[in-house]
Subunit: 77 residues, 2 copies
């Protein structure tokens, strides 16, 4: 599991738990809508300041976005 994909999954899971669309989350985090899209798909390799911005908007710690307990499947590493 690539760390970019892991972050993408974590962001998407928490964003959906907030009931937000990517556009709403983009507004909350101050990032661009298409950039969020790229992150959730694991297509981007964000810097830690971007991780911090997203974590702040989602109300979680930056570390939480890097963790691997998606509760569900985490077979491959």
């Amino acid at each position: 599991m690539d760390i970019r994909k892991r972050i993408g999954l974590n962001v998407q899971r928490i964003r959906r738990a907030r009931g937000w669309s990517q556009e709403q989350f983009a507004f909350e985090s101050g990032l661009h809508r298409t950039y969020i899209s790229g992150i959730e798909r694991g297509a981007r390799n964000p810097t830690v300041t971007v991780v911090k911005d997203m974590a702040d908007a989602l109300g979680v710690t930056p570390a939480a976005l890097l963790e691997y307990e998606t509760a569900s499947a985490e077979t491959a590493e």
Copy 2:
């Protein structure tokens, strides 16, 4: 506490716990010596893949490098 400084402190603490110099750590992680220096000083804004590389070399999770429990002082946020 800026997230870059937090990472720098975490990296430095764990690296020293391993008994490694910056040069040794640079070799182990495959990153450049001067770059490690900049990261530990909080002067750099690494990408998540670099965080992963450092975490792997140090034998910790990437999330561990972003956490704020340095056990000691963590007054300012």
